[in-house]
Subunit: 424 residues, 2 copies
């Protein structure tokens, strides 16, 4: 397929945050083949030419931490602290899910990601094989990460999924991971470290999400979750942590020195009353930051615009300083930072040769006007309503509120609605 976008504003994020007007961008199959000034080439037979009408093309957002399959739980069990929420509401219901259930719940999440301009997800959930099927069917770029704990996902299974998914469709991949220190024995984490060394692979897991999690780990091991993981060699080949609300000075040093990524989840940390991460300091220390929505049961929505506003807004509240964490830094976290964490070096910015993971932001909307500062408009005022198109791997999967995911939206709603009724 050859698709030409013309009359575009382009925020390439290739080395700077400049926006070039009157530009065009060509997609040949899954990659960007040209980006620059207007260029007519009458020899090319286009499958489609799209007049962008002065709207904005930019790299798609990367949702760098989520549990897509939890959509069935949205608004089913709110307003509880994290430990009770997990043990009383989540785990018992999850035990009843089939692989097909999780596939369809993931499909519902994919629709929401597309509507929020998200072109890649870093997903941790129960049945990697059916999650992989959903992402390939729906066209969502997905890096799955092991959610191993004492009750599910053995080391053997992780190794099998690692080999199988990474050898399969290039749209999807698999990383080693663990649910969290508090749900994994030390032996299990040591086994995971062996696997990571065997494949020279990075490792991710939930880390320091709540103050009580950190206290518990210190009681058990006289180390923080970060120190424990590092002491076991889990981070010898990189990786990082989800949430990271409560990091010590030593933890921050480990993240910095090992080049680990912190994936921020401000919506979930807000709704579950976990706390506010010290984002300004992480930025000052030069740590790679990414942004995730967390799962739809804890957030409760999969909306990168909400997360971006919260990343800067909560930092301003925490520091009592309206000038901290500016909009451009937030956009970098939501795109390039996510790509870095997820190992998607081909999807981080718009550039010739890069993957065509592109979104179109509708600037002709009241909340995007006037165009005093487009990147600030996106971070401070943007909404799902502004996503006009979401392209992944060169395929338009969402356009003007219509989905191209190989299944009718109503069929997805119906399946997940029935499932929720059954498990409520």
């Amino acid at each position: 397929m050859k698709i030409r976008f013309y009359n575009a504003r382009i925020l390439s994020m290739n080395g700077n945050m400049d926006i070039t007007p009157d530009s065009e961008l060509w997609v040949f199959d899954d990659r960007i083949s040209y980006i620059g000034k207007i260029k007519n080439d009458s020899d090319i037979i286009w499958d489609r030419q799209i007049d962008v009408k002065g709207n904005l093309l930019m790299p798609g957002f990367k949702d760098a931490h989520t549990h897509s399959g939890m959509t069935f739980l949205r608004s089913m069990a709110d307003d509880l602290p994290l430990d009770r929420w997990l043990n009383e509401q989540i785990f018992p219901r999850e035990a009843k899910l089939t692989g097909e259930d999780i596939k369809m719940c993931t499909m519902l999440a994919i629709m929401e990601y597309l509507s929020s301009g998200i072109t890649a997800i870093f997903d941790m959930y129960l049945t990697p094989e059916t999650i992989d099927e959903a992402c390939i069917a729906g066209g969502m770029r997905c890096v799955q990460v092991g959610g191993m704990n004492n009750f599910s996902q053995s080391l053997k299974e992780q190794e099998e999924w690692y080999k199988k998914i990474n050898a399969g469709n290039p749209l999807t991949s698999y990383m080693f991971g663990y649910h969290a220190e508090y749900t994994c024995s030390k032996e299990l984490l040591m086994g995971l470290s062996d696997l990571a060394h065997k494949y020279s692979a990075p490792v991710f897991g939930h880390n320091s999400e709540t103050a009580s999690e950190v206290r518990g780990c210190i009681e058990r091991y006289k180390m923080t979750p970060t120190q424990l993981a590092d002491s076991l060699g889990l981070f010898d080949n990189g990786g990082g942590g989800y949430h990271c609300v409560f990091l010590s000075d030593e933890d921050i040093a480990i993240f910095r020195e090992r080049g680990l990524s912190i994936v921020l989840n401000p919506g979930s940390n807000t709704k579950l009353a976990s706390g506010i991460a010290d984002i300004r300091r992480y930025l000052d220390e030069g740590i790679d930051l990414a942004i995730g929505t967390d799962g739809p049961a804890s957030n409760n929505c999969l909306d990168m615009f909400r997360e971006m506003f919260l990343v800067t807004g909560l930092s301003k509240l925490k520091e009592e300083d309206a000038s901290v964490v500016d909009a451009n830094d937030v956009l970098i976290m939501a795109t390039k930072g996510g790509a870095k964490a997820m190992g998607l070096s081909d999807c981080d910015c718009l550039k010739e040769g890069k993957k065509a993971d592109i979104i179109m932001i509708d600037l002709m909307s009241p909340n995007m006007q006037p165009l005093n500062n487009i990147t600030k408009n996106i971070v401070y005022s943007g909404s799902k309503i502004n996503v006009k198109m979401t392209m992944i791997d060169g395929v338009i999967r969402y356009e003007d509120r219509e989905y191209n995911i190989g299944i009718e939206p109503e069929a997805v709603y119906s399946y997940v609605g029935d499932l929720a009724d059954r498990l409520r």
Copy 2:
């Protein structure tokens, strides 16, 4: 006009938060004439019959504090503390605005309100007569409030506007008000109190938005802003305050005993790093709460969904308790609480005889599925993308992303864009 909605879920908010399925609602001219079970009446000649397809009808949101005319400043001057932001960025530019400029900037805001399901605004800005023209032209229900300070809007002008606007189109009205203690002399506030007594009228103003504002007032008067206003008799006929982030025990007692409304502005308080209001306590004390976006220069968007999430989310963070301020309480603030503050007793809920200020929420969207709990879905996961229709005073002003406001959107964007360029 006679409009029939059928196949609706209805959240009437008339005495409870129940949602009735398979319902219908009739609008005759500007009022609701029937609400209840399916009812065929072949004698009625309908102007339009709308199949709601199981989506939700509910009362429109009331944006109980805003400065609509500031849209030209969106993203022009961010990331500054409140005092520098006002004195260096806002006031000098505002001095150059004409009445027509403010009318068109207000029209841009009206479009955004409609897209967010907002059916009434409590607006404070510089040129009440042209703001009134914009709201009548665009069909937005508007209660204006005086923004008097030492430099603009005299008592004489307020009295003239009070008489003129309240005698004009019933879609719009006018209340006495003051910008804030720190921009008004004591003499001016005393004069305003005389006016409020003359007309037995409530008074609103910015109140205790920042810690430094409260400190300054105590230095000047040995009283908080609330105590000062009350001591001058400003609240003898009711009214209330915008923001109210830093209230003392005595202040809270004044609000409770006088039946004053607190209008919360969490988006603005977050972006300007002002702080988090003690919403849980205000609720516990039984104070009437409403929600406003504040102006688009400080927020930077006019989105009731963002505000609703922040009202509960920031309360959870402040209290370190995920169970505080539940979704239904937030919806009541955003609708009935706003109507109470604004004196719109005919617009608070859906009921026969009430004004037809109604919105339709699209439940067939991925972020609204499954329907485990619709009110939680709206507060925790809702977005402008879910607003399918906004009706004010019986007229559909927004439907499927099209506006019915008597002017083309592009003309509004063009005017405000040129204005912003001129003032930048």
